[in-house]
């Protein structure tokens, strides 16, 4: 209620500004803020959400501006069409830049975009036949009623509002969680099948499109453009706006954008110190509050809400959990009897053979223990099965389906979930959001469909939310759904990871030392949970050092030493195997 009143007031204020401002100069500044906002709102998705730093976005702004002036001015196109064309051109340029570089470490991408920013102004100067060189180009106006300062303001506000709505939709549905996940924990994002490279690329292309629109609007509101308006330093402004506003907030950067656009105009004499000042602000924010003010305030609020701090033990409701798992997926009929199989897999690291021709079969509805001393290759084997490492020999199969050459995400989509030795959670997201990430393999809504908040993303959101909530309540985290994952206790983090894996409705779940750091009582609880998972029909691979726990919990146990299987069979036999006793006690 309060939120909708605030929203209505905000809209009224923004729409009515021309009547309040009185002064046309102030209105111009407000228009410029709107223009920058069109760019910053989507750049924020790229920088703030996916954590990808595009330094040369100003180059896209310039291309959009020139495209608009040239198409609508020189060639006499319809201005709306020209504006749109500018956006499309920039989206294509984004694709061109992103394709080769977004797979590589972030610095490569930052450098490539910087280079792009530099060449745009270089070419704008050089290609005089097109851009009129340093003299610049006259920008055409939009047709009435958008040809007055007031009209233009409303046009900009309209487009800005629309873009904001789109980014808001992207942020609140599953795509938003996926973006933050690949920023905070690439490994976790992969494990729930988020395509890292493709997501970054899509977001970059989208932000390219809106930067192109912003360029056209920029040109028309300045009415004249020259190459020196698009120096790379302008890019710093954008960063500062986003970094101050904080990552992961949709409206956060707006404050920064407003201040930045207004400042040079309002304090003219100090303008020449502007860039230095922005550099300083950027440095201070990065050093002191790396998450930005937005995250700072959000974090403080979260901390206040959860006080008083007390040790909470996680108490699962096994019946509820059983129900949640079987409700999420009909395990009775699903791929009945199909096993996950590693056949004679080998993996070398340099001269070391970490896993040496190991075969292992994980059947649905069984708990398979994998034990062995340190360095025996257990986690390596788990990484081979889940796709984080590629095999040097042998094969991984799901039934008759060959998985050997595929990556992590396709395997996650096929129902292979896992947890990690140290829990990999998305620390900035809530407990519920983290669990919901497990619903990603079920998301069919595309990026644009989500941006327009179509019926499908809404329905998927509802379903996944309900499923994740049921899992969390079953596993004992129902009281802390809204808490940020990073403030959870260690045990709760472990259980949250299991809940996320279960939300994937997996056929197989690989647990990497889930008992690590748990108390004896908590290990017993874990055993109960694993029992429920197995009884539902899911195959569990349990990598563990607590051998007693493994022998108690598992149906079958495999023991590795020096990368090879030394014992395999029923727990009671393996635990008495002289070779196992020997490697554990080192005779």
């Amino acid at each position: 209620m309060i939120r909708s009143i605030t929203l209505a007031l905000g809209i009224a204020l923004v729409a009515g500004l021309p009547f309040i401002a009185g002064n046309l100069y102030y209105l111009h500044i407000a228009t410029m803020i709107g223009v920058y906002w069109v760019l910053i709102a989507t750049l924020n998705l790229l920088v703030g959400f996916t954590g990808t730093l595009s330094v040369g976005h100003v180059g896209l702004l310039a291309v959009g501006a020139y495209a608009f002036c040239i198409l609508a001015g020189t060639f006499g196109w319809n201005p709306y069409l020209a504006l749109l064309a500018g956006g499309v051109i920039c989206a294509l340029l984004g694709l061109l830049l992103g394709l080769p570089s977004l797979r590589l470490p972030g610095f490569y991408f930052a450098m490539l975009t910087l280079a792009f920013g530099l060449i745009v102004s270089e070419l704008a100067l050089a290609e005089q036949w097109l851009t009129n060189g340093s003299v610049g180009l006259q920008a055409p106006e939009f047709p009435a009623p958008f040809n007055t300062p007031h009209g233009l303001y409303w046009l900009v506000v309209g487009i800005g509002g629309f873009i904001t709505w789109m980014t808001w939709n992207l942020a609140r549905f599953m795509w938003g969680r996926a973006m933050v996940a690949l920023r905070d924990s690439t490994v976790a994002a992969q494990s729930v099948a988020v395509p890292i490279y493709r997501t970054k690329l899509i977001v970059f292309v989208f932000s390219g499109f809106s930067a192109g629109l912003a360029g056209g609007l920029y040109a028309t509101s300045q009415s004249y453009i020259t190459p020196d308006a698009f120096v790379v330093n302008v890019g710093i402004y954008f960063f500062v706006a986003i970094i101050i506003g904080g990552r992961g907030l949709i409206l956060g950067p707006f404050v920064g954008a407003a201040v930045l656009a207004a400042l040079p105009a309002l304090v003219g004499p100090l303008a020449k110190y502007g860039t230095f000042f922005y550099g300083l602000v950027l440095l201070v924010v990065v050093l002191v509050i790396p998450g930005g003010f937005g995250e700072l305030i959000g974090g403080l609020a979260a901390r206040l809400r959860q006080a008083p701090h007390k040790h909470t033990s996680v108490v699962p409701d096994l019946e509820k959990l059983r129900h949640a798992i079987t409700h999420a997926h009909d395990y009775g009929n699903a791929r009945a009897g199909v096993a996950l199989e590693a056949e004679k897999v080998t993996r070398r690291f340099g001269g070391l053979v970490a896993v040496d021709a190991v075969s292992l079969e994980l059947r649905p509805g069984e708990v398979h223990g994998l034990i062995g001393p340190n360095g025996s290759g257990k986690t390596t084997l788990l990484n081979l099965i889940s796709g984080y490492y590629s095999v040097d020999g042998g094969a991984i199969r799901l039934g008759t389906r060959e998985l050997t050459g595929t990556g992590v995400q396709p395997r996650a989509r096929l129902g292979i979930a896992r947890t990690f030795q140290t829990p990999k959670l998305v620390r900035a997201l809530s407990v519920l959001d983290n669990a919901m990430l497990g619903g990603w393999p079920d998301v069919r809504s595309g990026f644009m469909e989500t941006a327009f908040a179509g019926p499908r993303p809404r329905r998927e959101e509802r379903e996944i939310r309900a499923r994740a909530r049921a899992m969390l309540e079953g596993i004992g985290l129902g009281d802390v759904l809204g808490r940020r994952a990073e403030v959870l206790e260690h045990t709760a983090q472990r259980f949250l990871e299991i809940a996320r894996a279960l939300t994937m409705r997996p056929d197989f779940i690989l647990l990497d030392e889930p008992a690590g750091g748990l108390t004896t009582a908590e290990i017993a609880t874990l055993g109960d949970i694993i029992g429920v998972i197995r009884d539902a029909g899911i195959g569990v691979l349990l990598v563990e050092h607590h051998t007693d726990f493994v022998f108690r919990t598992c149906d079958r146990v495999t023991t590795l030493n020096l990368g090879r299987i030394i014992a395999h069979g029923l727990p009671k036999d393996v635990s008495r195997d002289p070779e196992v006793v020997r490697v554990y006690l080192g005779a």
Binding site: G351, Q493, G517, Y584
Partner: protein, 247 residues
């Protein structure tokens, strides 16, 4: 095993009430142990019990939440890793971590670096006498050695640093039994020459066969201390590693 129980010796290393956390996960809570001069101590326990974390915190490589570490009469709780090495507390990390691009000889010289910033070539001969295969490969980059040779090089790097206490963190990890015996025998012979040894090892019986004293760690605490000879073949060990809990 020493035939005669050693006379009481001065305490070289003393850890009291050590607490270490990674982020919010407290991994070590209240660990305590003591190593006397010239003593061979082994620290045993399941993986994840907090052994390596204890060693890293003791050497100043990671932060401590609480607790005190004394070495050779000095409080080194807040000292830098460099000063700790210079004081003679030298740790060989788990997992044969040598410097791949550097030659074997340069790796050894890095071992002397803390005390002799220009590298102490005079000590090389002693090491080569101890490990002749290192002499043969002195010019080869360490990355070209096998896993076992790399571990020997890592231990040699520790020995050349002139430790008063040499800490070995799972020297056996992923290695063939012969190499393990070799390394542990060298440690035992160093010990006879007066260097104290603190060994974390998963090959329990190999470790106990050479140690004077044994500490057992479980879930971040030291739960048991006994002469190594008493533990060999005892139920406590079997319980710790293969089932049940030490009470």
């Amino acid at each position: 095993m020493n035939a005669f129980p050693p006379a009481p010796r001065e305490t070289l290393l003393e850890i009291e009430d050590l607490h270490v956390a990674y982020g919010r996960a407290v991994v070590v809570h209240g660990a305590a142990l003591r190593v006397r001069a010239g003593e061979f101590v082994t620290l045993l326990g399941r993986n994840g019990a907090g052994k390596s974390t204890t060693l890293h915190a003791m050497s100043g490589l990671i932060g401590k939440r609480a607790g005190r570490v004394r070495f050779a009469g000095q409080d080194i709780t807040q000292s830098s890793p460099r000063d700790i090495v210079r004081a003679g507390l030298v740790q060989v990390l788990e997992g044969h971590r040598v410097f791949g691009p550097l030659s074997v000889e340069d790796n050894l010289l890095i071992g002397t670096y803390a005390r002799t910033p220009r590298g102490d070539r005079a000590r090389l001969d002693g090491i080569y006498a101890l490990f002749p295969e290192m002499a043969e490969r002195r010019r080869q980059p360490a990355s070209r050695l096998s896993g076992g040779q790399q571990q020997i090089l890592a231990v040699a790097q520790g020995i050349i640093a002139q430790p008063r206490l040499l800490v070995l963190d799972e020297p056996s990890g992923g290695l063939a039994p012969l190499v393990v015996d070799r390394i542990l025998d060298v440690a035992a012979s160093l010990c006879r020459d007066g260097v104290a040894i603190l060994l974390v090892e998963q090959l329990v019986e190999k470790a106990l066969a050479r140690a004077d004293t044994c500490y057992l760690m479980e879930t971040g605490r030291v739960v048991h201390e006994a002469p190594a000879a008493d533990l060999l073949g005892s139920d406590i060990l079997h319980a710790t590693y293969l089932g049940g809990h030490v009470t």
